[in-house]
């Protein structure tokens, strides 16, 4: 019996010891956890104090301009009353920070101590109202006038709790590059051979007969970077003449109709205008109605006042030679009858070009 009681007591003691050890272990483990967490929290809290990139407002300003300027950042540590924030800017700014013209989150600092170093003005501001960690801290002042010299001026901040950083106020557009380039006007006009291989100023119809149509050709070559194109006008000395007689002119064109089909044996003198194309994409050359006859017909070409001939709506940059598609072809045609007067017949055509830039 006694042994049974002893055994029970022994078992109870064992249970007690086990419970004691269990509770102790839980408590110890809890304490270790708590200690570890506390240390981690401290490390985390302390490691918050670090570099940052403050915002300067305005980030750009003209030279010699007085106005409010502010520096903002998010604090990573509590800024208690009595903490300091060093607000520094490069010397060159005029004005002096005081408790009256400077605020930290709209509240004046309790003191402003100016501690200039070479090239910088350091204003040590004492925090008058605590600011919790994670808050946006804005230092504002109306005291400063930007320097007279354009430059990119650094503002920096440094708190007694370890936050620090800097950013720029760009004064007088010192951070701006003006890129420039000049494109000169290009404008050239030459009268070229049909093959666009040489300049020419003559167009010889040769010896006319009543059995064939005499003709000669040349090209009007305009090169220009005029964005809105150009026009070509013509002015004739008069009709084709031997000084005493003027040969019969073809009929005028009429916007794709009209004109005269010059055939052998029927006296008529006229011109076929083939306008060509422009090098500019989407551009075109149009022949003015008066010179735009029906297919195969020639048009009258004896206008002795400047008369609009061609209109190009964009720039043109034909090749130096052989540009037979981007030049305008002028073909003079003559047919005579056996009764047409004889002699050397001439006509002078003067062309003028008007670019539209």
């Amino acid at each position: 019996m006694l042994q049974q009681i002893k055994k029970k007591k022994f078992q109870k003691d064992k249970q007690k010891q086990f419970l004691t050890k269990l509770v102790s272990s839980i408590l110890l483990f809890g304490l270790i956890l708590y200690t570890g967490y506390s240390i981690f929290a401290i490390v985390r809290e302390n490691s918050k104090a670090s570099g940052l990139t403050p915002t300067i407002t305005p980030s750009a300003q003209n030279v010699s301009t007085t106005g409010a300027v502010s520096l903002s950042f998010v604090s990573t540590a509590n800024l208690n009353v009595g903490s300091t924030i060093t607000f520094a800017y490069q010397s060159g700014y005029a004005g002096t920070l005081t408790t009256a013209n400077t605020t930290i989150n709209t509240i004046s600092p309790s003191s402003v101590t100016i501690n200039s170093t070479s090239g910088f003005v350091n204003n040590v501001l004492t925090v008058a109202s605590s600011i919790p960690s994670g808050s946006t801290v804005t230092i504002s002042t109306s005291a400063l006038t930007t320097p007279s010299a354009a430059a990119n001026y650094a503002f920096s901040v440094q708190t007694s709790t370890g936050d620090y950083g800097a950013n720029f106020q760009y004064v007088g557009q010192a951070n701006v590059v003006q890129v420039t380039g000049f494109i000169p006007i290009t404008l050239s006009f030459v009268i070229r051979t049909v093959a666009d291989s040489a300049n020419t100023n003559v167009c010889n119809l040769g010896t006319a007969t009543s059995t064939s149509v005499a003709s000669c050709q040349y090209r009007l070559k305009v090169t220009t970077n005029a964005k809105n194109g150009y026009t070509v006008s013509m002015q004739a000395s008069g009709g084709l003449t031997n000084s005493s007689d003027i040969l019969t002119n073809s009929a005028p064109g009429f916007g794709g109709t009209g004109g005269t089909n010059i055939v052998p044996g029927s006296e008529s003198y006229g011109v076929v205008v083939t306008p060509g194309n422009l090098t500019s994409s989407g551009g075109n050359i149009t022949t003015v109605s008066l010179f735009n006859a029906g297919l195969v017909n020639s048009v009258r070409y004896d206008y002795n006042v400047p008369t609009l001939l061609l209109a190009a709506n964009k720039s043109n940059n034909p090749a130096a030679f052989g540009a037979t598609t981007t030049t305008s072809l002028i073909t003079h045609n003559l047919a005579i009858t056996p009764g047409s007067p004889s002699g050397n017949f001439t006509q002078t055509i003067t062309y003028t070009v008007s670019p539209s830039f």
Binding site: N152, G165, A166, V176, Q178
Partner: protein, 516 residues
Amino acid sequence: MTLKNLFKFVSTCVLVSSILFVAILFAVSNLNSLKTEAALSFQRTVTVTSTSATSYTNYQVRVTLDTASLITAGKMRSDCGDIRTTDSTLVTTYNYFLEGPCNNPNTVLWVKIPSLPAGTTRTFVIQYGDPSLTSLSNGVNTLERYESGATSPTCTLLGIATWDSVNQWIRLTDTTGGSYGLCQWTYNPGAGFYIEYEMWAGGGNGADSIFNYAYARTAPVEEDLVDRGYSFTADEYQTRICFTKSTVSNGTGISCNTTIPTLDNSTWKTFEVKHSGRNAVISLNGTVYVSANDTVTINKTSSLFGIGSRTGGQVNEHRIRNVIVAKYDTGVTAVVGAESQSSSFLSFSIRNAADTANVNTCDMGTASTTAVSSCSYRLKVGTNAVNGFTISMKASGVLTNGSYTVNSAAAGAGGSGGTDISNSTAGTENYGVFITKGSVTGGTTALTSIFNAGATNEVKYDYTTVSSLLTASGANSPGATDTTNTSLVSHLFNISGSTPPGNYTQSITYTVAPSF
């Protein structure tokens, strides 16, 4: 046991944990303090005052710093590698030479300031406190002449002088009798100069000398045979240190001191001469042995300058190393100011392609259909932001003459893409930019993908919203004229014959965001 023991056990646990907690709290607090301090920079302003009538360009200012205290306080790298010197605005870096020794109360630092007009005061700044930086000390770029002994001498070796590249010294003479050796430059220091070198004499039976000479017309073969100019001698044979212009062997000096330590005991000694006008101050191992003035003004027009040595009937081996030559004027003084925290340093300027002046224009000139037009400038950022910085751009729009906008190059695509705008593509209208990213002294740089084209291609540059252009991973401390640690932006323009004429413009606004 039970409750009592349990209470005891818990109490012990609480006590141990508390002690542990407080100890670690203390350690972490201190660790954080050092860390914060180390991330910041410190600076001292040095005021250089000249009462001299001479104006100088590139004057070497000698200052001393207590680097031992700074290193102990955790404010400076243990090897002094984070020392930097700049102008007073912290924008332009100055060359410096750390003579040393580092971690010493009297560390000597030489700083070359670009100009010191007569009778003026100039300031410059010494910065330190960024453990990520490594030394930029450079004796050759800072001093008038510098011979460490570690590299092939810049002086001309004459007589029997040789360079010992293994032991890193110049052997002026061996123990051959009646010989001489010179380390000589053609250099006229003007009214004055500073020279300091380590010298070694020994291994023989007591002769003859190591000497500095200046303004000489002919190369001297003995310390007291002066053909114009002066010699500053350490004569082991006559046991004297002299300021002399003697023209006879072992002649009388202007001023000599015979109460000197043994010169030829085979130990390295530091010999220093400060000469200005008629005055000379000669020191050995920091002790002044001669301080005297010549009674007349001598002809200083000749330009042979150097360090010589000779043997006679008796001999010694003679060596020199760590030769420092600088400008010197007794009318120039330098005072190192108190330390202040320089907080965060940041500068940004747009510079010409040679990095010699600020610019805010980039004129591509007159464009033609036969050749590419271009202009370039550099983006120069200086900062101690350890995490680097980002440069962003924002354009006013496309290059335009007001009514016509030119065709822009294609965007880059991380090393590909873009458009070739060059002489080979002249006649085809295109406008774009090529960016040659520079290095940074404390990290690496990378172009944003859209600005990073194929090797010879240009990129579109007409973004009208702020666009990240380049990122740097570390701090940057570019030199005064630095085409390595700055980024080159080149604008290129090709036109066709149809590109409308006129004055074309585009504004590019750059912004820099540091990451401290």
